[in-house]
Amino acid sequence: MTDSAARRFVLDHFWIAFGAFGLACVLGVYQVLERSGIISALQSPAVYFASVSTHGVLMAFVLTTFFIMGFGYYVATTSLRMPIWNKGFAKAGFWIALLGTVMAAIPLLLGKASVLYTFYPPMQAHVLFYLGATLLVVGSWFWCVVMVVMLAQWKTAHPGETVPLPMFATTANAILWLWTSLGVALEVLFQLLPWAFGLVDTVDVGLARTLFAWTLHPIVYFWLLPAYIALYVFVPLAAGGKLFSDELARVSFVMIMVFGLPIGFHHLYADPQQAAGWKLWHGIGTFAVGIPTLLTAFTVVASLEVAGRARGGKGLFGWIGALPWRNPMVLAAILSLLMLVLGGFGGLVNASYAMNAMVHNTAWVPGHFHLIFAGTVITMYFAIAYHLWPRLTGKRLFSESMATLQLWCWFIGMVILSTPWHVLGLLGQPRRISSVTYNSLLTLAWKPYELAMIVGGLVLMGSAVLFLYNLFKTQMEGAAERDLTVSYAEALHPVGRLPDVLNGFRVWNGVILLLMIVSFGYPILQFFLLQTHNPSAWGY
């Protein structure tokens, strides 16, 4: 990326993402402290639930969306070697998303939108919150368009050539996000906004929850794919090896895109408004979408093994020790995969149909998604930031050892934070409470775990400070870095010509459409056939 304006543009995205991240971390520390009840002056459900709502929105919507857009522009321009298509259009997307973020943040911080990032009608937030969330998503659609157009232009200019893997995956993510966001867009545009504006009195909560579930699972893959991209194209190179299999990486991305979408009902296992048969169908799909992640684990670990052996690692596991553990990208990959194993297991339990009743809405669930999202995903976002910051700012990374320390702290903090959550979940503690008021012997066992979580939260906060400080110092005071080129890992077995299905998405869009009609068609249609009695708006 030689165009400094484009680099600046990507950096703007990243700083908004990581600014939101920093603020959300502060809120996270407050939340573990408040929840433990050890400082009585902090106890306040009003502040707690405003904080949880803001933490969720900042982490899940703002950090991710801006990071993914910025990373996408970077990958597109560097892997395709072409400038951003229609910069004005891309900038419009950025400003719309930013405006939406600010609009949503105001009511959130004022406690006027304490409805959590899942919206939860019939509790009604300030209308600005819904408008802001909508604009954030609309802004991201601009990015999707740019990605799809750039890929199309490149393919026209390079007929028959294989699309570079990082761009193939980035476009898969853009298309995935367009499909994904449609569910929540329908909910907000046709249900929540007319209702918040007072045009209609009531909202069908069953339908709203079904539409949100449409978005709620694949959105996780929208967040995860940039992490997988880094695992496939940056990590093997950083470890000193090659990508074990390029084709299988493409197969994994396509499978995630196709199977990630029609499976949202595993968020509704405990809901009364959908039938068990549909839940089982989505449950089977949920297990199916585990396959590409299992394949990814193999490809990435095998790539590491190739690199470790090239560095002199011997025996069955000697290559692990031979890896460059001090390299932030490699270290991040190892820690990220470790958390993927633990968090993935939690996900398997959540996905297991009736067994969901054992853990549904317990502390197990935030334990699971903090391992996967705050663990696997964010750790790779850190590594990407460390990798790209010198290339974006033209300054050498301020401190590589600080980066590795930061990654270790994040890992340790996340394990200390999320292990108690899993235990508490099995002991029956609900998620989303600001204090434990149940007068029951069963709840006595919860206390020590709450205290451990404070330690985890503080370690994570320290890690977040190190991360932001390192990036800031790099940009402000780093030594000049002349080589701004970025390299993507080559495949061990070079890819030749690929069939169209692994070089484009036309067929897959058709498959997705079909699967979505099968999986969501009747479950949505039923609300128009049922005699429903919809509730009016409530405060909180």
Partner: protein, 49 residues
């Protein structure tokens, strides 16, 4: 990438036996833990329908 670079790779690269062993161990552990939770914790807490 030109195919000529392939002979430089060690033959073991094509058989990541360490990865295979490691992942099989993890898969076995996950399966055992899942079966324990399903049949040892979930079902004894009461059949649900």
């Amino acid at each position: 990438m030109p195919p000529s670079s392939r002979p430089h790779e060690e033959p073991r690269d094509d058989l990541p036996i360490g990865t295979w062993t490691l992942l099989c161990l993890i898969a076995a552990g996950m399966t055992a833990a899942w079966l324990f939770l399903y049949f040892g914790v979930f079902l004894p807490r009461g059949v649900v329908q």
